[in-house]
């Protein structure tokens, strides 16, 4: 269980800066809400910043989550301990925020932007993205869309990713699951809890 050593400093003071990156519509806000609600239940101060409005229409989005912090909601450059990337290219776009040697958890399922479908730009090779990330950071990569599908619905991808990052958070697993149950649509609780567990296992086993 190498991650315990990697992140031991986090467990100490319960401060953790987490960046969630992805594409508008992927459920980055719900992912951050699950963590936020769980933080409040476990008595941790939390600050977060979100992308709304113009940036939502399929554009690139980035959410800042700061656990154990009672000042501002913006993570400084090179300040994030962990990045949770819901889409591979969006992991690279915000690397400026991640600490050297930080952890990046990547969903390897690409979403092709219109700039690529219309031939204006090229989507980089996913393996090349992962290789580049591995040079400086600790990378945990898997296809969270497929994992969520296995759990019962592709829509649970964001919750599978929360499960994946959960092992690093200074919040008990049970509290996070309680928060998942409270925030996802009632009919999908079972699928989402399963997705959470499967995501968590992916990182535990890596």
């Amino acid at each position: 269980m190498s991650h315990v050593e990697e992140m031991s400093h986090v467990e100490g003071d319960k401060k953790l800066d987490l960046l969630i990156t992805g594409v508008g519509g992927q459920g980055a806000i719900l992912a951050s809400d699950i963590i936020g609600k769980a933080a409040v239940i476990s008595g941790l101060p939390i600050r977060a910043a979100e992308t709304h409005g113009m940036a939502q229409r399929g554009g690139s989005v980035v959410n800042h989550i700061r656990l154990g912090i009672d000042l501002g909601s913006m993570i400084p450059r090179k300040g994030a301990d962990i990045m949770l990337a819901l889409e591979p290219m969006e992991a690279v776009r915000y690397l400026d925020f991640l600490k050297d040697g930080g952890v990046v958890i990547v969903n390897t399922q690409p979403i092709i932007p219109v700039t690529v479908t219309s031939g204006l730009a090229k989507y980089p090779d996913v393996q090349e993205i992962l290789d580049t990330l591995s040079e400086k950071y600790i990378v945990k990569a898997f296809n969270a869309d497929d994992l969520a599908y296995e759990a019962g619905s592709r829509l649970a991808m964001n919750v599978a990713m929360v499960g994946a990052v959960s092992i690093y958070l200074p919040i008990p697993k049970e509290t996070l699951i309680e928060s998942v149950k409270a925030l996802v649509p009632q009919k999908t609780v079972e699928i989402n809890v399963r997705a959470f567990e499967m995501g968590r296992r992916k990182v535990e086993e890596s």
């Binding site: 977060a48 979100e50 709304h52 409005g53 229409r57 909601s73 913006m74 690397l95 980089p124």
Partner: protein
């Protein structure tokens, strides 16, 4: 026992209004302010009146009426909304209020979702009204009950100015009590206050000037300003609003000692500034956008004859544009002290594809723009407006965007300037009701030979699907008159008005051709519900697929720019993904009948 909840800044602001006993709320949607009214409207136990107004000026006046009836009222808008509402606001400062009135004006440093990044604190200075500048969502909530009381005590409207990072920040919030008893409305006929004839306005101006110092003194003592003097430290830092928390955290990180003045109210608390200036040799002023605090500090230092080195926007130590953050503060320190702060970039050599926001798969605006361009051609001029459709810039049919409602009037100006090319402008339904109506009336009145396209997607989409006068229900979902855009345009004198379905390419292109040939102001209303709100309302369409046998790989459908259409380079064939919402436009574009509905 104290209650803590995890909340969006705007939800915390809504809570603060409840804790302050608000009775009337009006506003016009605009990022980053919209969720305040969305939140208050969705509460079931409402003991207040709430509305989405047709524009900010109207909303301001509704709030004024309520405040003059002695109840606590609020008007919400984004920063540029105050430009629209400036007319009532400037004179309201003279007339004052009875019930507390808070104008919540949300600024957007960095233009995340805006056409400019004007600083509302300048309006407060201009109108001579106090301004509250929260540094965290918690403080934002806590300030509001105070702001109501302050407004009532001095009988003056106040500005409350969150920024994007407050409104769209999230935080654990400690909740307070919501009062149950609220005053009954009573309009007192104080004609020398409410009728701003010159003879009444002059003494009210004198009165407004006379309360400036007492207001500043009272605000200086409020919990929203704080001065922390460190003995034997010659460096002072002044942080305003949200910038103060960035400065504070950066100082803590670096272990740098400095006396610290946090400012949360305007007029700038001069007393506190002087106390700080007296104890330091150098003062660094960290505030977003305009040097509002900095200018006051410079004036004060000069008046008091203090030899203090003042560092801020002047000299380029702090940027005057864009939002600030902790990294920006570190950059400032680097400039000031030549500090060696390691700041190696995390950039890698991979080339990334840009991912700008785009119109949704099946968005009717894309279909309208496609047909508009087909009929009017590349030489025509295409003024446009503010809404989701501004994202249609890649369709080649958005060539101007200035402010709400400007598309039609700019089109008129282009025509009257003598432009001989065809002019076809576009404006959304909500934007048309907001200020586009005046522009259409003016275009008709002054005989502008232009085509006006109203992109009627039956909702105010960009800001999160708020109702407008065309949809038939109010903010709380209550049924109301559904104003007909077509009848409205005809009543304003438009000579040619057509209502068409933009998903039907033949129909809309015929309408555009007729409008282009029409001598005078022609209106084409492209009516089709927003795909997002349509889906929520239960509209289901059969998705489409490409028959690879028939596809010739001509890419005409790909060029349409729908996010649901991709191109398989290997098989030289278009592919429609699961994003397809079934609008069927691509099937009409395809010359080879290769696109058809999925068989059930």
């Amino acid at each position: 026992m104290t209650m803590r909840e995890y909340m969006l800044g705007n939800v915390a602001i809504a809570r603060g209004l409840l804790e302050g006993g608000v009775q009337v709320i009006a506003g016009y949607p605009g990022t980053p302010s919209s969720e305040i009214i969305d939140t208050l409207a969705s509460r079931e136990d409402r003991d207040y009146y709430i509305e989405w107004s047709v524009n900010e000026k109207v909303a301001m006046e509704v709030a004024v009426g309520a405040a003059w009836a002695g109840v606590r009222s609020v008007v919400t808008m984004k920063h540029v909304g105050l430009n629209v509402a400036a007319d009532p606001f400037m004179t309201l400062a003279y007339a004052g209020t009875k019930g507390g009135l808070i104008a919540i004006v949300a600024d957007d440093p960095s233009c995340h979702s805006s056409q400019n990044e004007q600083d509302t604190r300048r309006y407060a200075q201009f109108a001579l009204v106090p301004c509250f500048d929260p540094s965290t969502p918690q403080e934002a909530k806590d300030m509001l009950p105070y702001a109501f009381e302050f407004s009532e005590k001095f009988e003056i409207p106040v500005i409350f100015r969150p920024t994007t990072r407050i409104s769209h920040g999230k935080s654990d919030i400690e909740l307070g009590e919501i009062p149950v008893d609220k005053p009954a409305p009573h309009f007192e006929k104080l004609l020398d206050r409410w009728v701003m004839l010159p003879k009444n306005a002059r003494p009210r101006h004198t009165h407004l000037l006379s309360i400036q110092q007492p207001m500043e003194d009272e605000l200086a003592e409020s919990p929203w300003n704080s001065l922390e003097l460190k003995p034997d430290v010659r460096l002072g830092v002044i942080g305003a609003g949200i910038a103060s928390v960035y400065a504070k955290e950066a100082l803590q990180e670096l272990g740098l000692e400095a006396s610290f003045l946090k400012i949360g109210t305007y007029p700038v608390p001069k007393k506190l500034v002087l106390k700080l200036l007296d104890k330091v040799d150098t003062v660094l002023i960290f505030e977003e956008l305009e040097p509002v605090v900095e200018e006051q500090v410079r004036i004060l230092a000069q008046e008091a004859g203090l030899e203090v080195s003042i560092l801020g926007k002047e000299g380029g130590f702090v940027p005057r544009e864009g939002e600030l953050d902790i990294s920006a503060f570190l950059e400032t320190l680097k400039k000031v002290f030549g500090l060696d702060i390691e700041h190696e970039s995390g950039k890698v050599s991979l080339e990334l594809a840009p991912r700008p926001p785009a119109l949704c798969a099946g968005c009717s605006h894309r279909a309208t723009f496609y047909s508009m361009r087909k009929v009017f051609g590349k030489d025509a001029i295409y003024p446009s407006d503010i809404g989701c459709y501004t994202l249609g810039i890649q369709s080649g049919t958005v060539e101007t965007t200035l402010c709400m409602g400007s598309s039609i009037s700019i089109a008129s100006g282009l025509y009257h300037a003598g432009e001989k090319r065809p002019i076809c402008c576009s404006i959304g339904d909500s934007t048309f009701f907001h200020t586009g109506m005046n522009s259409l009336l003016n275009a008709v009145f002054n005989k502008a030979n232009i085509t006006v396209t109203i992109l009627d997607n039956r909702i105010t989409a960009m800001t999160g699907h708020q109702p407008n006068p065309g949809v038939g229900f109010t903010v709380t979902g209550e049924p109301t008159v559904e104003v007909s855009l077509a009848e409205l345009c005809r009543a304003m004198g438009a000579g040619s008005v057509a209502v068409v379905d933009p998903y039907n390419l033949e129909e809309i292109q015929e309408a555009f051709k007729a409008a282009k040939d029409f001598e005078g102001t022609a209106v084409v209303i492209a009516k089709q519900p927003c795909v997002i709100s349509g889906k929520r309302a239960g509209i289901r369409r059969v998705p489409y697929i490409v028959d690879p046998e028939k596809c010739e790989g001509c890419k005409q459908c790909v060029k349409f720019g729908c996010p649901a259409i991709e191109f398989d380079e290997e098989n030289k064939c278009a592919v429609i993904t699961a994003l397809c919402s079934g609008c069927g436009v691509c099937a009409q574009i395809c010359k080879f009948e290769a696109i058809r509905e999925v068989k059930r």
